[in-house]
């Protein structure tokens, strides 16, 4: 009996680690898309996650839309926010260095957070799960239905993005714009459009993560910063720009956090991501899956 409950606890921690892990992975993928095209680390990425969740709350509870419509509308509106961020802010500063653009993204994140606080106040909000019903009980561990939805959303995003960047001309053109913007223009790639597309796309993906997680962990105006930081840890650990790496690293991070909370103390939970980020930067700055060769060929 004792060994059974130990086993089910382990399973429970694993499930909750995986759930939060794929969310980190989605945030990390958002970083990677913008990084891949512009070499900018967009520190407003966490705010896109927060906006996704709160927009969904707005659509579902103030406008009484069905949850799936709210999901789609929140992704659309956050995507539009990313679009506006590029159009109104990043594009105006296009001649600046990558480092100043990164600092600009920090400013945007503060602006978005402040606006969200004015609009929604400081209270956390909740959403109904995408489908109602009891949790699935597997070997003594409870798996919430929303967790299954989170896995499904992440899987769809990862598969679509992989196909987009590996197979489509636009996906490859986005990579080419990142590699060498002036050469990309010389082969006829509209680089500004690619940058615009990258901001829109990663805002939308951040929002997908935000909407999916709100029914489980609530959402408030300042939740973005920590999610963004952990997602950044996952992006670095997986190798900046590597989608598969981000997925694995996000899950590793989620599991580490969940086990730490379960077996050590939940007070150390948030430190885990930072420690892993620091270790990655010290010992393997190209990440688990970034090739050293490619890292050498990159500028930043």
């Amino acid at each position: 009996m004792d060994s059974f409950s130990l086993g089910s606890a382990l399973l429970q921690y694993t499930v909750s680690g995986l759930t939060i892990g794929v969310i980190y992975a989605l945030v990390a993928i958002g970083y990677n898309i913008i990084y891949n095209v512009t070499e900018i680390i967009n520190f407003a990425q966490g705010e896109f996650v927060m906006l996704g969740g709160l927009f969904a709350v707005f659509f579902a509870q103030s406008l009484h839309l069905p949850i799936f419509l709210a999901f789609v509308a929140a992704i659309g509106l956050t995507g539009l926010t990313g679009f506006a961020m590029e159009r109104l802010v990043i594009r105006r500063a296009r001649s600046s260095t990558v480092l100043s653009l990164i600092i600009i993204t920090i400013a945007v994140s503060i602006l978005l957070k402040g606006t969200a606080m004015f609009w929604w106040g400081k209270n956390p909000y909740s959403l109904p799960p995408f489908s109602s019903g009891r949790p699935f009980i597997v070997l003594g561990a409870a798996i919430q239905r929303q967790a299954v939805w989170i896995f499904a959303v992440s899987a769809i995003v990862v598969v679509c993005l992989t196909l987009f960047f590996r197979r489509s001309a636009y996906g490859k053109a986005m990579l080419a714009s990142a590699d060498n913007p002036s050469a990309a223009r010389m082969v006829g790639i509209p680089v500004r459009q690619m940058v615009l597309l990258s901001f829109t796309l990663s805002a939308a993906i951040g929002a997908a993560a935000g909407v999916s997680i709100t029914p489980i962990s609530l959402m408030e105006y300042d939740r973005g910063a920590l999610l963004g930081l952990k997602g950044f840890g996952a992006a670095v650990l997986g190798g900046l720009g590597q989608f598969f790496g981000a997925l694995v690293a996000g899950i590793v991070l989620g599991l580490a956090e969940s086990f730490c909370a379960g077996y050590l103390s939940s007070g150390y939970k948030d430190a885990v991501a930072l420690v892993i980020l620091l270790l990655a930067l010290f010992f393997k700055p190209e990440g688990l899956f970034g090739s050293r060769e490619a890292a050498k060929l990159k500028r930043f």
């Binding site: 001309a169 490859k172 080419a176 590699d179 060498n180 010389m186 060929l297 990159k298």
Partner: protein, 243 residues
Amino acid sequence: MLTVKSVHTHYGSIHALKGVSLHVRPAEMVALIGANGAGKSTLVNTICGLIKPTKGRIEFQGESIETLSPEEIVRRGIALVPEGRQIFCTMTVEANLEMGAFIHRRNGQQVEMDKESMYARFPILRERSRQLAGTLSGGEQQMLAISRALMSRPKLIVLDEPSMGLAPLMVKEIFRIIQELRQEGRTILLIEQNARAALQIADRGYVLETGKLVLEGDGSVLLEHREVQRAYLGKGAREIWDA
């Protein structure tokens, strides 16, 4: 085919081109020679739309292109093999070729066909098609840069310093390739510091000096020209005057 009419270009406060006029006829190979800082690259960047001229006109196939974006100029049929090669280092050789054909992306069959013909022309690129382009040697990168430009099926190819930074044997090889392109009837504007090699294979040549064209003529005539021999072919003044 290409006509540049008294073009002036400024780099900030620097007056880099001071009224340059030149033309390239169909199926002709024109060499533009000049020392470092003469304005060769500025002229190339102005033709390709990366910098806008402050005065003057550039016409391609009878239409003025000086206000168009670089993307649109590629679509009109001018392809650049840029100085320093500028390949996509972090992408595979194959992806580099596909990006060269970005404007033809809706025509998959044509892209595949052209890729095959590039591999046939440069077998080394086929061998390395899955490798990251940044891992290629300088000469291989230059072949890739030329292939990438050809993938857009250009009407005019602009080669900016294709021999720069290459080993002497490779320089020879690159000039052989350029000669081959010329024999296929392609229209080429070749910008070079290596004046002798460029003038030997070109139909006509221009000499650019501090933002102005100072000489113009058939390749073989320029090769024999005293001023060119003294300034660009490294013959001593005495050698020329005594002869």
